[in-house]
Symmetry: D2
Subunit: 255 residues, 4 copies
């Protein structure tokens, strides 16, 4: 039986592509996303066409119990989850405090922070008992600096980063590798950036970033580093790293 | 009419003492805490005995609307809030992930992150209209590193730190000074550390930390820096600083 | 005899103004700078006209032994140095790697890092024996992020920040308070920014930053925080803080 | 002709092992170290026995011009340097300020900071002209926090980290990938840790860290991540990451 890589937040950007990379590397990819059954089917079909194996489920991780139940079902139907890719977040674009209502603020936390805590609560005991497991968390520079208009997103990401550290502090010595991946720049992802910008602006941005768009973070290249992280030997684990396109300015630099 | 300093979380440690320091400096101190009417009365009486002026209210900041209503009432009864001291948190001691249930995790967030967002949502528009205001947020090193057993606390504090940055990013240029104060060490505070340790261990710790306990963070000395922050001219504002006793090891150093 | 505040780098910006603030607060200010005897005289005269006391010396801190000899002479002529303000640096403006020759790179280190180490080597044993002392180090955001064109400056400042931490780690418990002050923004300082920009551009910038220029860091307001740091009780010391004008964007935020 | 990987500081720990990993991956490894001609020969022989290719040179990088001349000679004799591994440092163990003399402080800077600047000054123009190149810098947590007794080492590493950022800021968009690798923990390296501890203590530590010593950072596993960094596509580059053994406590956590 193949080891399982469970992706929570498997859209047509980093999440789905990381799932495909693990499938290519010998894992059974279990892909979960909130909506778009059609997109989910296509992603699974593409993985299988490439010789990999995958399953897909729609999942609203903000609903009580669904996340926990899905993890339990995956373990019993597909086998031990060796890698969890937690790829949920709610980057809703810039909005001032007056436009950030309670519902939005709380939703960002439920997706960004609370969902990871819930997943870890169910998975870490299983992984600890098995003496191994990997949790890869897609993050953003909003986890290390709070820009204007990012109240809800930055608060969720900042909490999530600390949670990754507390999980690492409790579980690393039990064989669980937690890694926090700071995505620092625009991603060539139609489901997230594409939807935020709209199709025209998104295509314009892609053209501006070079012939092969590699001035954007290309999901297939991002996925290589996710895969590497999961292969690191336990004597040399990375807890945090950043990723950005060569032509982008790092978040700590002035443009 | 005196300018108002509103303290949310005015126990017999940093919160109450900071309130007293502002009262001594010419502010009307409005003290809010969740429980202990008696302690609240004593604090107010002590401030008045020292020649200052104060009001006190019991307030459960996790309940819907109460925080917002209290802020509105303070503004109408006592005048413009010039300084908000947000001093709530839920340091519940170390507990493993298995002992950190949903209720605890969410409560830490409600006190540590969501409450500050709610207070800011009400206060920032008022302060921005007046072109001035100060928000002082008591924080902990859990905002910058996640230790084992601190899942709920660190996630809340990490989110809060980013929120302080997003508030600063939106409101500094409108005259609102947001400062994030990293308390890095044990505080000589009977209401928080005292209760966590119990009276005997707390007294033992005090004795170990020197004749006048100044190997602990003394709230009256911490309060001096809070007061200084609120007096900084807008040409030279501090957004973040740390505070620790001289004999303590900084959080980033090995013991 | 008054306690002594020794300022290394006492130009007509932060250094000299901090010296004046300490003189006003009861210290004897000893002002050292590399050149401009005339400026030094004026600064001392202004301090004395305001009722304070001051001495001034020209000092090239990159020359062997001169710094050490000056510290020894100040101790024997003016009394124990209670506060050292280390205000030297070499912000030489942006220049590419090709334009950053060995001499420049080394000079930045000699001023920015090595000079502080030399001063500490002489002063810390004296302060430790007396059980008290304060070392205030003016720093820049180049100490926490390296921008393009800042190879020499950032390398020096980054080393200096770590040195401040190692000094604090060794000497805080012996009563020496080391504080690292991150100046994050343009300072209204004719001797440094003024010379870098030239008089016309400098005046233009001042006008743009508001009627009283308080969109720039005003040295007299910066000096208030330096003075506060030196008055902090040893139970509540700050090791690091940032300072910027309200209308400036924090270094970690995008414009 | 194979692409060249030049290792400055190729002892029997991270440096030499990284060189061997690149040789195994198709690079010609050029190994430089200050002394031990015999060790250098053995390292090269082992690489060749494993089917790789390597050259070795003794090099004192603190001497004027030698580093620059070696880089030029490697380029003309072995071809374009595609990867530079800068692995020099001077972790001399803990020593108080009184025991850190001028010579030691300056030497740490010459090895840790100035040498990297010198190498970059020669290499970056060549790499920029070719539109590609990778500079991997072995670093330590002393680059991000200054512990007691680490005055010279931390000052050098802190400067070096900022230099890596300024190099990245200037050269990333020209195709040069600069990565700063924070080694956070004891390395199973006889030439550095082994010499610092002495053979007996070193062997004792190894035994304590598990049957296969993987509670220490194993150089061959560290080397996997170095190699991965050099293979990252330019659309998804990492500038900084940490590495530690699973059973070690991260530098930001309390033990």
């Amino acid at each position: 039986m193949k080891p399982v890589c469970l992706v929570i937040g498997a859209g047509a950007g980093i999440g789905g592509t990381v799932g495909a990379r693990f499938a290519q590397g010998g894992y059974h990819a279990v892909l979960c996303r909130r909506s778009d059954e059609d997109g989910l089917q296509k992603l699974g079909a593409a993985i299988e066409a490439a010789g990999g194996s995958a399953s897909g489920y729609l999942l609203d991780a903000t609903k009580p119990d669904l996340l926990e139940e899905r993890i339990a079902a995956v373990e019993s139907e597909h086998g031990p989850i060796e890698v969890l890719v937690y790829n949920l977040g709610a980057q809703i674009g810039d909005r001032g405090l007056a436009e950030t209502d309670h519902r939005v603020f709380e939703r960002c936390w439920r997706l960004g922070t609370f969902g990871l805590y819930r997943a870890a609560t169910v998975l870490c005991p299983l992984m600890a008992e098995r003496g191994k497991g990997t949790i890869l968390v897609t993050s953003a520079t909003a986890a290390v600096r709070g820009n204007a208009g990012q109240h809800a997103h930055a608060a969720a990401m900042g909490g999530r980063r600390m949670l990754c550290q507390t999980l690492n502090a409790e579980f690393a010595s039990k064989g669980i590798h937690v890694a926090h991946v700071l995505i620092d720049g625009a991603v060539d992802a139609p489901d997230t950036l594409g939807k935020m910008l709209g199709p025209e602006l998104f295509e314009k941005l892609r053209q501006e970033r070079g012939l092969d768009h590699d001035g954007l973070l290309l999901p297939r290249e991002v996925a290589e580093t996710y895969f590497h992280l999961a292969q690191q030997h336990r004597s040399a684990w990375t807890h945090e790293l950043d990723l950005r396109a060569f032509s982008d300015i790092a978040w700590w630099n002035h443009p």
